[in-house]
Symmetry: C2
Subunit: 234 residues, 2 copies
DNA sequence: CGGCAGACTCGTACAGTGTGCGAGACGCTT
DNA sequence: AAGCGTCTCGCACACTGTACGAGTCTGCCG
């Protein structure tokens, strides 16, 4: 009883549509622009209509509902992710390249972070990327279900890293919350774990976030790849 | 220019409040019930008010806005996660126990998946769990920043796994989308990757989702732990 | 006891949301 | 000219979060 149910755009034939003026592509492109500029909450059918010099409800000719539109824009940015061709079995490069590209895309379109886990990734771009990644893992030597397991593990790590990263950025944005008071709150909360407090002060100099985040991501990514490698040998 | 800015409940002193009737705890408890029953979209201030025999706007005495309420319920479920005490340096057990507990909690409260990455995890329960996990990694032998890296890597993996998992469950819920047509769509989309198609058919018998998901999670988790272990030795 | 201050409740109102409906307008084919 | 899809869109509805301000209740001080 979780509320409305959605089917998926990808599970039905698209409109015949030899449309003259507006098109689904144009709408999706405008929606991405609006999302980039104003975030997920900034996208409303009325605003999108206005941006296209159209009435809000005109869009419903091309898209069954807002959820479908979100599916479309979500797959759109999957199209920006790159999967390097694996060269002579060096699958680490492929996996690492994909992971970094994935992260960069989401950082560039922060609204996408909130779409993960809300919209099924069944579009051609999403499926295509996964397929190419899967192929790299197959070449690497994974077999059967383990290929899918490996793909999932990698994407899970990337999404799990980048989602809170985006959230943090947005909370900090425009000084609504300042780093100093976060630090204080954390210190207060872990007051009964003295060694953690100590570590915090130790690392205090390292708080130039972006660089730390980058390092953190690479650290975990290396761990994941090593872990997959280990699973491969056995 | 991402829209409204939020500060965080945890960054300001709570109300003095020697309240007689309603209390913040009671409200949070009711909110969790409502969320469990009706999902994230099913929670509105009016419904929550009704559930508590109160006017919708009465709640605003205890909570500055809905976002704060979400922060509170989010931390509430962090309280349900368990971090096993590490025994004689066997940190794998602690990490694995935490990971499984984390996953189970989110599967039990699917709405929480959409709160990750939308609400800062600065509550006492979230910070407490992280702190205990960090301690386990410190005992394991990680040093300085690497402790935090290890914690992040693990939680990233779990969240990244469970968020799409929940999304999938909800899309499939109540037959809005059936597994068969998803399969067909995927087959159509990867039509130009013949070997992937082949693998799909191979694994077709394994599609009793819950078990597969469980295996997948454990597979990736083992990889992550091994990868962290590798980082530790060097 | 009176009265006052703070804690708390809530009806009303406002701006905004997604979208169902049905009336209309365009352009192509017969 | 008639008709028929394709497409547009104004209106209306039910719903959202929450600002405001008038109201009630409770306990303390004189």
């Amino acid at each position: 009883m979780t509320g409305k149910q959605f089917s998926s755009v990808w599970l039905r034939e698209p409109r015949p549509a030899r449309s003259p003026g507006r098109s689904r592509e144009e709408i999706v492109r405008a929606a991405v622009e609006l999302l980039d500029a104003e975030g997920l909450d900034g996208l409303s059918m009325r605003k999108l209509g206005a941006k296209l010099d159209a009435g809000a409800t005109s869009l419903y000719w091309y898209v069954a509902n807002k959820h479908e539109l979100l599916e479309l824009v979500y797959d759109e940015i999957w199209g920006e992710m790159t999967v390097p061709e694996p060269r002579d079995g060096r699958w680490h490069e492929t996996a690492r390249g994909f992971a970094h590209s994935m992260r960069q895309v989401v950082l560039r379109h922060p609204w996408a972070a909130r779409l993960i886990g809300r919209v099924p990734a069944l579009g051609p771009n999403a499926l295509g990327s996964s397929a190419r990644l899967a192929r790299a893992f197959k070449i690497a030597g994974f077999r059967g279900l383990e290929i899918d397991y490996a793909v999932s593990t990698l994407t899970a790590y990337v999404f799990g890293t980048v989602i809170p990263e985006v959230a943090y950025n947005e909370t900090m944005a425009e000084g609504a919350v300042d780093e100093q008071s976060v630090r204080e709150t954390v210190e207060r909360a872990v007051a009964d774990h003295p060694e953690i407090l100590e570590r915090m002060r130790e690392n205090a100099s390292f708080t130039d976030t972006e660089q730390v985040r980058e390092m953190m991501f690479s650290f975990g990514l290396a761990a994941v790849l090593d872990g997959l490698e280990a699973r491969l040998v056995t």
